[in-house]
């Protein structure tokens, strides 16, 4: 890996940090750009650089920078009961990037990738919630998985549409290489 890739991943992390603070007022679930940004970065930077960007993003949060949604940060946020949803971004970003790289960057494939990403994050988060919160599976699923599936699917649909749209625009501007 050369310097340029490291710098790109660092900027990817910075973009996630910025977008995580932007509220998208989309009914019925207004949501922050955090999940969206992770999906976008994985779509645009590919599996390796995308995962690296997410790693840096999580490390920045762990170092106390308020980079997580709603200007929060700190190790507590990462290791707490809901930390799994953040750490889950890592495998999610990798798998999404890998899937898109192996297939093609179309709306249909991006939709599949985003749904995969959503479930990876949710499953990771729920298992973490069960362990860190010392809960039963029943409680962890009821509190950490089921209520988030429908909003998650809505977010995935949005991330798909925006991801491919923005990617195409960036390609037109020749800012990302066609092969990537």
């Amino acid at each position: 890996m050369n310097v340029k890739n490291y710098v790109l991943a660092a900027f990817g992390a910075a973009i996630i940090a910025v977008l995580a603070q932007v509220m998208l007022p989309v009914p019925p679930v207004p949501f922050t750009g955090q999940t969206l940004a992770v999906g976008l970065i994985a779509t645009i930077l590919g599996p390796r650089l995308g995962t690296l960007a997410v790693t840096v993003y999580l490390l920045l949060g762990a170092a106390g920078l308020p980079v997580f949604a709603g200007f929060t940060g700190g190790v507590a946020k990462l290791i707490g009961p809901t930390g799994g949803y953040l750490v889950g971004f890592l495998p999610a970003a990798y798998l999404m990037g890998l899937y898109l790289e192996k297939t093609s960057y179309t709306y249909v494939q991006a939709a599949v990738a985003n749904v995969i990403g959503m479930f990876v994050t949710l499953i990771f988060g729920t298992i973490w919630l069960k362990i860190a919160g010392d809960l039963s599976w029943e409680a962890a699923l009821a509190g950490g998985m089921i209520p988030f599936i429908i909003p998650g699917l809505i977010k995935a649909a949005l991330a798909t549409w925006l991801g491919i749209f923005v990617r195409n625009r960036l390609m037109q501007a020749k800012l990302i290489a066609l092969t990537n």
């Binding site: 490291y6 660092a10 992390a13 976008l40 700190g74 009961p81």
Partner: protein, 265 residues
């Protein structure tokens, strides 16, 4: 908002805790995260709470900042507390609402887990309140050095963190400008049909990515031109210094661990 992003939650000071080497603090906090799980009865949880309060006192952090840091997590604590009290069905019934029974074991477990969570939040908050993000990055890099033998890109990760740290405020500024520019052109994120609102997000994202990627390109070129070749042989402007304080900090960690192991069930 900008200041928050640059300094993180760091509040400058000159207490014992502020003066500790970031390496000592990082070792302490990471070990603390693990030894918290040794606690399993009232004595051990009490011990953890007392120790945490002592550190808060020594660090001379105003309680306001700690409580402030707790705000986004209060909901979570109540949430886990409720999940425990409502889903554990062991021990005697304390409260009976007919459709809902609260069991003794559930309540106890709920209190214990909340305490565990509270001390973890306080302890990690103290780390980030008394140490600037840049010294945490430096400390992490040195501590993770042994992982280089396993080909982990430790230096590169620290470098990327520093670059992000430097450019997050710039990109925030940029986003603000782009939003204002688009608003001046009549784009509205908060009104109109769903499709229009979504379409309004695109003219925010594209310029943000474009400007970020251009800056990345410039920075990478500048670094290459100046002969940046990675961590090998690089000298440092900020030096870390291990002091008697740091040794005291680690000794207190060992004592706390011993006490927890001794008093647990």
């Amino acid at each position: 908002m900008m200041e928050k992003m640059i300094f993180g939650r760091y509040i400058p000071g000159d207490s014992f805790v502020h003066k500790l080497d970031p390496r000592a603090k990082l070792i302490f906090v990471f070990a603390f995260i693990f030894i918290v799980f040794f606690a399993n009865n009232a004595v051990t949880y009490g011990l953890l709470l007392a120790f945490t309060l002592l550190i808060i006192f020594i660090s001379r952090i105003r309680l306001y900042f700690l409580i402030n840091g707790l705000k986004p997590i209060v909901f979570l604590m109540i949430f886990t507390f409720l999940l425990h009290t409502l889903f554990t069905r062991e021990g005697a019934v304390i409260l009976d609402f007919g459709f809902l029974k609260i069991y003794e074991q559930g309540l106890k477990q709920g209190i214990f887990i909340s305490t565990r969570f509270l001390v973890l939040v306080f302890m990690t908050s103290i780390l980030t309140l008394t140490t600037s993000p840049i010294s945490i990055t430096d400390g992490l890099e040195v501590l993770l050095n042994p992982l280089k033998k396993l080909k982990a890109p430790v230096h590169e990760l620290a470098l990327m963190m520093s670059i992000s740290l430097r450019f997050i405020p710039t990109l925030m500024d940029e986003t603000d400008k782009i939003m204002k520019a688009q608003m001046a052109r009549g784009s509205d994120l908060s009104a109109g049909p769903l499709k229009d609102r979504l379409k309004a997000v695109v003219p925010l994202l594209v310029p943000l990515f474009v400007s970020a990627f251009k800056r990345a390109e410039d920075l990478a070129t500048a670094m290459e031109v100046r002969g940046y070749r990675g961590g090998e042989g690089r000298t440092r402007y900020r030096q870390l210094k291990w002091d008697y304080r740091d040794t005291i900090c680690l000794i207190s960690l060992v004592v706390l661990t011993a006490l927890l192991v001794f008093y647990r069930n």
